[in-house]
Amino acid sequence: MTYYEIIGGILITIGSIFLFLGGLGIYRMPDIFNRLQAGTKATTLGAMSLILGVGIMEGTWEWILKSFVIIVYIAFSNPISSHALARATYLRGHRPYIKSEDKEKMDAYREVVENDPKRKEVEV
C-alpha cells in the first residue's frame, strides 16, 4: 500500500460515510428545508471527499486534476441548486417546520413573500 492509497482510502471512507448520512438525512428530516440542509452539506462534502480520495488513490496527476475539476464543480453547483430549491419551495407556499412557539418571529422571510402580490398565483 502506498501513501496515496492510504490517504485515498481514508478520504473515500469519510466520503462514503457522508454520502450515506446525506441519504439518511434526506430520509429523516421533518421538512424539505431541513432535508436540504442535510442533503446539501453531507453529500457535498461526501462527494468531494470521495472523489478527492479516488484521485489521490490513483495518484496520477491526470486523476487528480480531473477529480479537482469535479470537486470544484460540486462545491459550486450543489449549494446553488439547494438554494434554488429552497426558495422555490418557499415561494410555492410551503413554510418551514418550526419547533418554537413564536412562528412569526422564527420566520423572517415570510413578510417578504407575503407582501408580494404575485405570490397568490403560485401557491399550491
Binding site: F76, S77, H83, A84, R87, V122
Partner: protein
Amino acid sequence: MKKVLVILLLAVVGFYLADVFIGIGFGNDHFVKSDEIKPVKDIYLQQTVENLKVSNAVTSIVVNFRGFDTLGEVTVLFLSVTALGSILYRKRHHAGDRSVLFSASSIVTAGSKLLFPPILLLGAYVFIHGHLSPGGGFQGGVIIATGFLLMLLAYENYTVSHNALSIVESFAGITFAVIGLMGFMNGGTFLQNFLPVGTLNDLFSGGIIPIIYIAVGFKVAAELTGVIYTVLNEKGDQKNG
C-alpha cells in the same frame, strides 16, 4: 374496468416480451451459435482500431460505419425543430418576452453566468473528443444546449437569435453533407474517409470522424437550443395572447 383490462393486456404483452428477452439472457454472447454468424460488432471493434484509428468504437460506428444513420438522425432533429416551429407558429409572435412570476434569485443568476462559459467548454470538449472518450456530437450538443437552458431560466429576458441558431445549424448540416459527398473523390463512396487517420488516441485521428462529430455537436446544440427557446417563448405567448 378499463384499467383492469389494460393491465391484463399489458401483462400478456409483457409476458411475451419478458419471455423472449429472458430467454436471450443478460450478459451473454447471445448470437445464434453457428459458423454462418459473424456479428458485425466484432468487425467494428477490430476495424475501429486498425483502420480508423478511432478509440471510441461507438463513435466510429455512429460517424463512419453507420454514419448514414447519423445523417438521418441529424435530419430528424432538424425536422423536429422545423416541426416545432411550424406547429407552434402564430402570426403574432412575442419573441423573448417571457414574463415570469418571480425572477430567479441573484444567487442563481450570478451562478449561471459564471457556469455558462465552462458548460459551453465542457460541451465543446465532449464533442471535440468524441472519438477519444465516451462523448460525441450529440452529448456535447446537449450539454451546450443545457447551458443555454440555464441562462434562459436564470434570465427571463435572455434572448437567443433565431437567425444565428439557424445559420449555425445550417452550416453544420451542410458540413456533414458536403463531407459526405466529398467521399466520392477518388472513386470513393458517400461518407468515405478521405483524410489521413493519424494514430490511435491522438486528438488528430480518425480522419473525417471528428470533423463530422464537431459539426454534429454544433448542429445538435443549435437545434436543442432552438427547441428550448421556442417552447419557453410559448409560455410568453400564453400570457400575452
